[in-house]
């Protein structure tokens, strides 16, 4: 079976961009004045975090569309996006503390706003998987999990607001209202890494979606076959 362009294009982009990003990170950009060598993890850490947010955001849109249109295709689409988002989220939560230990001297900092909001969102999506796997497959599972994810739409802004009210800000702010807060070579490397991660996520989504759709089709065909044999 030949892969459709939607799978090939992100896969090619990811294969080109990610090694390129690695090369740029180790051979091109200079050490950060303040943080030194350890700052280089940033070029992968932040793109993965942004990819997680992109996957979760897109998943929520697909969930809303599923509730509106009641089409099982949208259920599958948003399930796969939240799945890939959770994988990226796990990476962020593993890598974040490594950076924090070197940069701040602690593994985890409860007074950091972005860390806490990310953790809340991650817990929420993990809970969603528990719900999904506790329900029988079918229309009801699709609707119930869509409803739960819709509840999460408010969770991101409300968590940001709650943590902002309660705590202080010490996370480095790279994007401010006055533009990016980093030199040109840093920014180009960051963009290449971000493009690579988004392409990788898109190809993972595409591959998983194709696998799931094929599995469903095979199941339907088997059922039909069993039906005609009987």
């Amino acid at each position: 079976m030949t892969a459709r362009p939607s799978t090939v294009l992100p896969l090619v982009a990811a294969t080109v961009l990610i090694p390129l990003a690695v090369a740029l990170i180790f051979w091109w950009v200079a050490d950060d004045v303040d943080q030194g060598f350890s700052q280089r993890i940033f070029y992968f850490h932040v793109p993965v975090a942004l990819t997680t947010y992109a996957c979760f955001g897109y998943a929520a849109v697909c969930a809303a569309l599923h509730l509106a249109r009641r089409d099982p295709v949208w259920d599958l689409r948003w399930y796969v996006r939240s799945h890939v988002g959770t994988i990226c989220g796990t990476l962020v939560l593993v890598r974040g503390p490594i950076w924090a230990k070197i940069s701040w001297g602690v593994w985890w900092n409860w007074s950091d706003r972005q860390l806490n909001v990310f953790l809340i969102l991650f817990l929420f999506y993990c809970a969603y998987f528990m719900l999904r796997f506790s329900l029988e497959e079918g229309e009801r599972r699709a609707t119930f999990s869509s409803v739960y994810v819709l509840l999460g739409i408010g969770l991101v802004p409300l968590s940001i607001l709650a943590v902002r009210i309660a705590q202080t800000l010490i996370h480095p702010t790279v994007f401010t209202s006055e533009g990016t807060n980093m030199p040109g070579s840093f920014f180009i490397t960051f963009l290449v890494a971000l493009g690579g991660m988004l392409a990788l996520a898109a190809s993972m989504i595409s591959v998983e979606l194709r696998g799931k759709t094929t599995a469903l089709r095979i199941r339907d065909l088997r059922r039909q076959l069993a039906g005609t044999d009987a």
Binding site: L67, I120, L123, F124, C126, A127, M130, L131, S134, L135, E139, R140, T143, F144, S146, V147, Y148, L150, L151, G152, I153, G154, L155, L158, S159, L161, A162, V163, I165, A166
Partner: protein, 221 residues
């Protein structure tokens, strides 16, 4: 619609009140948890009112989980929900009825727990009770609104008692952050209680509107 909701809330409450062990059990749960909190904070050193103020919210959220486990208990046992859906009642009224019953339930427990908490932990602190009461009242609205939807989701699964806290707690985290901030400000005698209280009101309003909107999809299944 309001009248329907009130009738439904009353029915729910009557069922639970007649079965005395639920309300009495909840009250006993609260007292036992407060005692656990006292010893968990290190016995005598539990006089640290700031630590205790945070624990108040652990107790409240856990109590809400217990209460939510009962929300659809009667309906699923007697398949009363099916009958209710056949009745000419607005779906939003079913949600509102459940929320009102849940609020009343929480209020009863908190009317008992809050003074006890004060006597146990805040007696010597120079705390202002008014913001704490306001925080509890506002947080209850948020807990009940989102909790009823989550309870409806959980009751459809095989492992509903386990799944309910798993689904509910991540959604309750921002609420707890806001409520604890308000309580700590009150314990410190700070003037900064208005912002967290405003946040609690926002959380309650937002989730009440959202939950009311999506509840229709749940019972339609």
């Amino acid at each position: 619609m309001i009248a329907d909701a009130l009738v439904l809330a009353r029915t729910n409450l009557l069922l639970e009140v007649r079965r005395r062990e639920v309300v009495l059990g909840m009250l006993q749960f609260v007292v036992a948890t407060l005692v656990i909190v006292h010893f968990a904070l290190g016995g005598d050193r539990a006089s640290d009112p700031r630590a205790a103020a945070g624990m108040l919210w652990v107790v409240i959220v856990l109590t809400a989980v217990l209460a939510l486990n009962r929300t659809f208990a009667a309906d699923t046992e007697e398949s009363a929900l099916d009958a209710l859906l056949l009745a000419p009642v607005d779906r939003a009224a079913i949600w509102l009825g459940k929320v009102l019953a849940q609020l009343a339930f929480l209020a009863v427990v908190e009317l008992f727990a809050a003074p006890l908490f004060w006597v146990f932990f805040l007696d010597e602190a120079d705390a202002d009770p008014l913001p704490i009461v306001a925080a509890i009242a506002l947080a209850d609205i948020g807990l009940a609104s989102v909790g009823v939807v989550v309870a409806a989701l959980a009751q459809a699964t095989r492992t509903r008692e386990v799944l309910l806290p798993v689904l509910f707690l991540p959604l309750a985290i921002p609420l707890v952050i806001g409520a604890v901030t308000a309580t700590l400000a009150a314990v410190d005698g700070d003037a900064g209680t208005l912002r967290p209280l405003g946040f609690l009101a926002l959380y309650g309003t937002f989730f009440a509107v959202l939950a009311c909107g999506v509840f229709d999809h749940l019972v339609a299944e």
